[in-house]
Amino acid sequence: MAKNKKPRLELHIPEPKCRPGKHADFSGLAIPPAGKVARPAIDAQEKDLRHLPYELIRVLDDKGKAVGPWDPKLPAQQLRDGLRHMLLTREFDERMMKQQRQGKTSFYIKCTGEEAVGVAQAMALDDKDMLFPSYRQQGLLVARGCPLVRLMNQIFSNSQDNLKGRQLPIMYSEPDYGFFSISGNLGTQLPQAVGWAMASAYSGDTRIAAGWVGDGTTAEADVHYALTFASVYRAPVILTIVNNQWAISSFQGIAGGEHATFAARAMGYALPGLRVDGNDFLAVYAATKWAADRARANLGASVIELYTYRAAAHSSSDDPSAYRPADEWKNWPLGDPIERLKQHLISIKEWDEKRHSALVEELAQHVAEQLKEATSHGTLGNPPPNDPGSMFEDVLKEMPGRLVMQREQMLALRKLGEEN
């Protein structure tokens, strides 16, 4: 048996470079220049894609120029649409967080700084493709044209809430927009997206699926299930990992990102793993389009790591100043996806400050109107929701006997309460 002298072992606990009090420091972070990563054919062999998880696909350079083989060469109107959707998403977030602060609802989650994720990916997919998002891709719904008032009604659990007041705010479910019911349980939707994609392939359909999880969520079993099933059955699905550096108060090193990239997970399943500048609208669009074309060609699933930064608090219940430097976002080297696309549009003479402020104005107006309408249907508890009996519906397709009895009990109790 081995007889070498042995050092005492030590337990390693990953720590982020900076905590509150210190200034943000991204000096260690190597950000490769835009345009440098080759764009393989969608039918390239897996062994020729193994470099991708260690690169960073970028199209927009620091001056806002689109460079390199990944430039999707989108018509200016589509770029302006993207800008509009991202601005609308941000304005919506601002207004709704205010509502939460004013006690009009119990909970809210912003995607500030990550707007390119939902918006660019929705635009790179077809309207009929099925989306299995986490709670931070509201940009998908905005880009697909879902009326904000629908989302607001859900957030307020008001009389027009399509989820009948049953769900936590922002846990949208929008079948008509190909947007799956958001689960409060992290990660569960990812292998479901794979199952949906398998069903589409089983049925000889042409629609593909896409699923999203955050960096922290990659540690859950469901992500491993999704990768395994997607690989084994060559499912037409795009699995996006939104690496926004944080999982509530835990930095991505706690999820395994200290030495590995999340895109590298793909290699263990012989899937392409694209690592992409998540704040670069064009890069996100191009990578998603590449993966979609691959899936549509029966070449199977792809993993996309979108490298971005969670500019906002985790949620309305969270205060990041307790665990990270206040100036991190300001110093985040990949900037703001909205500013970068705006700069690009201006640099190609398809946009200017005047039109921009007009647009911002118009969108603020629009959100205000939608909010007015939503509020007219009520906000959380005001008026109190008036159909408590509906609480017993949809547990099963037909209400079982015991729930019929329980509903009667509950309604009797309510009546009694009103009498007193």
Partner: protein
């Protein structure tokens, strides 16, 4: 009509379902080419092709998750969990997702999936091939739980489960796959072919979920059981000569409460029997409901005869398994008190 054992009846149900509806497919560990470790899917891959009957990675959670996604798409997947002892990795997808999806999406999305899984002991399978975890799922609203006790019911209930628009967990008591085992491990097993309920139509038929079966009509005590225990209870009634009314629940949820209440109101006495561990087993719910609805008719405390509150001990299988003698003593006890 043909003579079938439970395995053949289940296989026939799958065959009929897949022939009738192209949206029905089945998958799980070793279910494809091999046809399942208990052979319940034998021949299906050959007949319907690999995309409708296939092997899966060993990931129970992934199997159920994929099935949910397929259900959302509009298919009717039937998945097999090789032993119910291995269902735990799938609990999150079953409890947090399958059971809640219709509710949280207000009917916008549903998971019409069926999960088949062999359960129960009596096969010297030790603690990881003998469990009866049904009570973990009967506590979860949104799940339907079915447990057949014979080939005829197995086929009719499985077809009904597959057609059900919500998730169904279909437990298959593996000890009675080949015959109506009554707990007498020291006697040769009578094959199903000698039992009337092995007369199974080859064609399509369903049995309603939530309708119990009176396995034996009786006057003096009501015995509530399901799965393997139905046969144990029938043997106990024979051997003690107690005129027990033995009720086979068939499905735990939905529960046929009316049949139970009617019987107990008649007999005034009740014994609840299952193989799962006692504490917080499904028997506790049955006792609670019976005392709630028949309090003034009860002449003796309701007895529970169950597996002991320990893991399933390999060498002591027959000291653990609730056999006819234990049930018989309980029958006498409720009659004497």
């Amino acid at each position: 009509m043909a003579r079938m054992n439970m395995i053949q009846a289940i296989n026939s149900a799958m065959d009929v379902a897949m022939a009738r509806d192209p949206k029905v497919l089945t998958f799980g560990e070793d279910v494809g080419y091999f046809g399942g470790v208990f052979r319940c899917t034998a021949g299906l891959q050959k007949k319907y092709g690999a995309t409708r009957c296939f092997d899966t990675p060993i990931a129970e959670g992934g199997i159920v998750a994929a099935a949910i996604g397929m259900g959302v798409y509009g298919l009717r997947p039937v998945v097999e969990i090789q032993f119910s002892d291995y269902i735990y990795p799938a609990v999150d997808q079953l409890v947090s997702e399958a059971a809640r999806l219709r509710y949280r999406s207000a009917g916008g999305f549903t998971a019409p999936i069926t999960l088949r899984t062999p359960s129960g002991g009596g096969i010297f399978g030790g603690q990881t091939h003998s469990q009866s975890p049904e009570a973990i799922f009967t506590h979860v609203c949104g799940l339907t739980t079915v447990i057949p006790s014979n080939p005829y019911d197995a086929k009719g209930l499985l077809l009904a489960s597959i057609e059900d628009d919500d998730p169904v967990i279909f437990f298959e008591p593996k000890r009675i796959y080949n015959g109506p085992f009554d707990g007498h491990h020291d006697r040769p097993l009578t094959p199903w072919s000698k039992h009337e309920l092995s007369e199974v139509p080859e064609e399509y038929y369903t049995l309603p979920l939530g309708k119990a079966r009176i396995a034996r009509a009786g006057e003096t005590v009501t015995v509530i059981a399901y799965g393997t225990m139905v046969h144990v209870c029938l043997a106990a009634a024979e051997e003690t000569g107690v005129d027990a009314e033995v009720i086979d629940l068939r499905s735990l949820l939905p529960l046929d409460l009316d049949t139970l209440v009617e019987s107990v109101k008649k007999t005034g006495r009740c014994v609840v029997v299952h193989e799962a561990t006692k504490t917080c087993g499904y028997g506790a719910e049955l006792v609670s409901l019976v005392q709630e609805h028949c309090f003034y008719n009860l002449e003796a405390p309701i007895e529970r005869v169950t597996g002991w509150d320990t893991p399933y001990p390999h060498a002591y299988e027959w000291d653990y398994f609730p056999g006819p003698r234990r049930v018989g003593l309980a029958l006498k006890k409720v009659l004497e008190s």
